[in-house]
C-alpha cells in the first residue's frame, strides 16, 4: 500500500470575533476609506433587512429571506467583483447585489411580488435570484464557458448555501468547472442551517470546501463573518479564475434569522446557539477593529446610520409607490413575440378586467 495523494484545506481568518487581528492583515486594510466602505455596505444591508422584515410583518412585503449575520460574505463578493464580471446569486445575497448596482427598491419589488424587481438597471448581465437550490451553479458554468470561449478576462461568481452542496447540480458544476478550467468561483454561504436541517445533516465531510478537491479545483474555508479575510480570499479567487482555475470558498457564517419570514426557527434550534453566534457578528467585529485603529467614532457611526436610514427609507418609498403591472404583462415577456396561439388568452385576460361580470376574483 502506498499513499498516492494528499489534500489540505486551508482556513483563513484575519480578525477574530473580538475584532482583533490574528494574522497579517491584507494591504487594503491600511486604507480607511476602503475599510469604511465595507463597513457601510454591511450596515446598509442590515438596515435594509430590518426594514424589509418590518414591511413583511405589516403586510407590505411577501415572504422574504434575510441575510442577517451573513453580511460580510455578500459585501466581500460585491466589493471585489469588477463591473464586467457576472454574479449568479441565490436568494440571500442582496449584500452582493447592492454593490453590483442592484437597487434596494428592486429587491423589495421582487419579494413584493413583482417581476420587474429582476430587471436590474445596472449589472445587466447578472442573473436574477435563483430559488431552486443549486440549479444556478450550472448557469455559472455556462457563463464562465462563454467568457473563456470569447477570451474575456471576466469571472462568474456563483452563490450557494450549505444545503445546496448536497445537490447534484452543485457537484456536476464543480466537476465541469474543473474539466474545462473555467473562470468561475462558487461561494458557499455555510450558515449552518438549511431551513431546519443542520450542517451535520447535509454531509459527513469535515468541510464543505473539500468537495472542490473531488472536482480537481481549488477549495478553501474562510471565516465568513470576517470581511477582511473574505475580501482578501475573493480577490485571490478572482485572480486564480483568470488563470483558469475555479475556486470553492466555504464561508463559515451563521443564519441569525429564520430561514424566511414564513419560518419559525425556534422550532428546531436553541437560544444558546443563537447567543453563541451573535458574539461572532461581522459588523460589530469590524466596528471594534475600526474603533481600535482610531478611524471610527461614535459620532461617525451615528451620522452614517442616519444617512443609511434615509437611503433605505427612500428605497421603501420608491417600492411602495410602484404601481402594479397591468395583468397582461404576464404574457408580454413570455416569448420575444407572443405566439398567435396565446393572443386570445391575453385578450381574455384583458376583457376579464373590463367586463362588468369579470375581474380578478372570478377566475
Amino acid at each position: 500500500m502506498q499513499s498516492i495523494a494528499q489534500f489540505t484545506i486551508n482556513y483563513w481568518q484575519c480578525l477574530n470575533a473580538d475584532g482583533q487581528a490574528v494574522a497579517e492583515l491584507p494591504a487594503f486594510t491600511q486604507q480607511p476609506e476602503r475599510v469604511i466602505s465595507l463597513y457601510r455596505a454591511m450596515s446598509l444591508t442590515r438596515l435594509f433587512d430590518q426594514k424589509a422584515i418590518a414591511l413583511q410583518r405589516t403586510g407590505q412585503l411577501g415572504t422574504y429571506a434575510s441575510p442577517l449575520g451573513q453580511e460580510a460574505i455578500g459585501v466581500a463578493i460585491g466589493s471585489t467583483m469588477r463591473p464586467e464580471d457576472v454574479l449568479i446569486p441565490a436568494y440571500r445575497d442582496h449584500a452582493a447585489q447592492f454593490l453590483r448596482g442592484v437597487r434596494m427598491s428592486d429587491i423589495l419589488l421582487y419579494w413584493g411580488g413583482d417581476e420587474r424587481g429582476m430587471d436590474y438597471a445596472e449589472a445587466r448581465e447578472d442573473f436574477p435570484i435563483s430559488v431552486p437550490v443549486a440549479s444556478q451553479c450550472c448557469h455559472a458554468v455556462g457563463v464562465a464557458y462563454a467568457m473563456r470561449l470569447r477570451q474575456q478576462a471576466r469571472v462568474a461568481v456563483c452563490c450557494i448555501g450549505d444545503g445546496g452542496t448536497s445537490k447534484g447540480d452543485f457537484y456536476e458544476s464543480l466537476n465541469a468547472a474543473g474539466v474545462w478550467q473555467l473562470p468561475v468561483i462558487f461561494v458557499i454561504n455555510n450558515n449552518q442551517w438549511a431551513i431546519s436541517v443542520p450542517r451535520c445533516g447535509q454531509s459527513a465531510t469535515q468541510t464543505l470546501a473539500q468537495k472542490a478537491i473531488a472536482a480537481g479545483i481549488h477549495g478553501e474555508q474562510v471565516d465568513g463573518n470576517d470581511v477582511f479575510a473574505m475580501t482578501a480570499r475573493m480577490e485571490a479567487a478572482i485572480e486564480r479564475a483568470q488563470q483558469g482555475e475555479a475556486t470553492v470558498i466555504e464561508a463559515l457564517s451563521y443564519r441569525m434569522s429564520d430561514h424566511t419570514t414564513a419560518d419559525d426557527a425556534s422550532r428546531y434550534r436553541s437560544q444558546e446557539e443563537l447567543d453563541k453566534y451573535a458574539a461572532r457578528d461581522p459588523i460589530s467585529r469590524l466596528n471594534s477593529w475600526m474603533s481600535d485603529a482610531g478611524f471610527w467614532s461614535e459620532q461617525q457611526e451615528q451620522a452614517m446610520q442616519e444617512e443609511l436610514a434615509t437611503q433605505v427609507e427612500q428605497a421603501v418609498k420608491e417600492y411602495l409607490a410602484t404601481e402594479v403591472q397591468p395583468p397582461q404583462s404576464m404574457f408580454d415577456d413570455l416569448y420575444e413575440t407572443l405566439p398567435n396561439a396565446y393572443q386570445k388568452q391575453r385578450d381574455e385576460l384583458i376583457n376579464a378586467q373590463t367586463s362588468p361580470q369579470g375581474g380578478a376574483d372570478h377566475g
Binding site: M118, E125, S135, H139, V143, A176, Y335, N340
Partner: protein
C-alpha cells in the same frame, strides 16, 4: 443533388448554422469525437473545433443548465440529450429557468437555446430508450416544442429553432432517422415554426399526427384512399404553441378527425387537440374525435413493443369509425 436521411438533415442544418453564426455551439455527451451516438453531429468537431462542439461530462442537468448560462451570455447553444429517457433531470432547468428567464427579467435576459433529443419507440432499443414524452414539455409555458417528420422538415425546422429568440425543445423521431431519403437543398432556408404542415389534402376525414407516426398516418391515408375515403393529413410539427387554426379549418371541411400519436393517450397532446375541436369546432364535427395513441402503460420492452405502437390498421379503423358514426 444527393438525397439525405432525416439524421443527415439534422447534421446539415447544424453545420450550416455553425458556419454562418459563430455564436452557435453544440454540446452534449459524445457529440464531439464520436459525432453523437446516432451520428447527428458527425464531422462537426473536426470542422468547428472542440471549443464549439463540446463533449460534456456525463451530466444532463449540467448540459441544460450550462446551456441556460451560455444563452444568457448571447450564445446560441444547441444541447443534445442522448436519449429522451435521460431528459427528465433536464426538466428542472427547462421549466425553472430556460422557459422563464425572459419573463422573470422582463426581457433583460433570455434563453435562445435548442434542446435536441431523439425520442420514440419502434427500434427494439433497451429500456428507457423508447418513450414519447413530448407532452411533458408541451405543458411548460415559455417553450416551443418542435418535432420534424421528414428530412426536409428536419432541416428547415431545426434552422428555425436555432434562430428562434426563445428556447426550443427539438425532438427527433429516431425510428425514421434513416427510413427515407429525400433531396434537401443546403441553402440555409428555415421553415416556419408555430404552424402545422398539411401533407395531403382530403375531404372526408382529417388525420392529425407528428413525428414518426406520420409514416403510419400517410400509409393509412393510402389504405383509406383505396376504399374511396379521402383523408387529409396534417403534420402538427410544432406541438407547442399549437396551430389551432389549420386543424380547425381542415376539420370544418371534413367534419371528422383522428389524432395519431405514439405517446400514452391520457393528457397527451392529442387531448389538447381534441379539446380545441370540442370547444372551437364542435358544430363542424359529424363524429366524435378519435385518438389512436399508445396505451396508458409503461412502454413495454421490445418483445411487446409493436403491440403498443399505433398501427396503420388502428388508424384506418378509427377513421372508418368516424365515417360510420350516425
Amino acid at each position: 443533388m444527393a438525397e439525405i436521411t432525416l439524421i443527415e438533415a439534422v447534421t446539415q442544418a447544424l453545420a450550416w448554422e455553425m458556419a454562418n453564426d459563430e455564436n452557435v455551439l453544440v454540446l452534449g455527451e459524445d457529440v464531439g469525437v464520436n459525432g453523437g451516438v446516432f451520428r447527428a453531429t458527425v464531422g462537426l468537431q473536426q470542422r468547428f473545433g472542440a471549443e464549439r462542439v463540446i463533449d460534456t461530462p456525463l451530466a444532463e442537468g449540467l448540459i441544460a443548465g450550462m446551456a441556460v448560462g451560455l444563452a444568457a451570455q448571447g450564445l446560441r447553444p444547441v444541447a443534445e440529450i442522448q436519449f429522451m429517457g435521460f431528459i427528465y433531470s433536464v426538466i428542472d432547468q427547462m421549466l425553472s429557468h430556460a422557459s422563464r428567464m425572459r419573463n422573470r427579467t422582463r426581457g433583460r435576459l433570455s434563453c435562445p437555446l435548442v434542446l435536441r433529443a431523439p425520442f420514440g419507440g419502434g427500434i427494439h432499443a433497451p429500456e428507457h430508450h423508447s418513450e414519447s414524452t413530448e407532452a411533458l414539455f408541451a405543458h411548460i409555458p415559455g417553450l416551443r416544442v418542435v418535432i420534424p417528420s421528414s428530412p426536409g422538415r428536419a432541416y428547415g425546422l431545426l434552422l428555425a429553432a436555432m434562430r428562434d429568440p426563445d428556447p426550443v425543445v427539438f425532438l427527433e423521431p429516431k425510428r425514421i432517422y434513416r427510413l427515407v431519403k429525400e433531396e434537401v437543398p443546403d441553402n440555409g432556408e428555415a421553415l416556419a415554426l408555430d404552424v402545422c404542415y398539411t401533407l395531403r389534402e382530403g375531404s372526408d376525414v382529417t388525420l392529425v399526427s407528428w413525428g414518426a407516426m406520420i409514416k403510419e398516418t400517410l400509409e393509412a391515408a393510402d389504405v383509406l384512399g383505396e376504399k374511396g375515403i379521402s383523408a387529409e393529413v396534417i403534420d402538427v410539427a410544432t406541438i407547442k404553441p399549437l396551430d389551432r387554426a389549420t386543424i380547425l379549418e381542415s376539420v370544418a371541411r371534413t367534419g371528422r378527425c383522428v389524432i395519431v400519436h405514439e405517446a400514452a393517450r391520457s393528457c397527451g397532446v392529442g387531448a389538447e387537440i381534441a379539446a380545441v375541436l370540442a370547444s372551437e369546432g364542435l358544430l363542424h364535427l359529424m363524429a366524435p374525435v378519435q385518438r389512436v395513441a399508445g396505451y396508458d402503460t409503461v412502454m413495454p420492452l421490445f418483445r411487446l413493443e409493436h403491440y403498443y405502437m399505433p398501427s396503420v390498421q388502428r388508424v384506418v379503423d378509427a377513421a372508418q369509425q368516424t365515417l360510420e358514426f350516425e
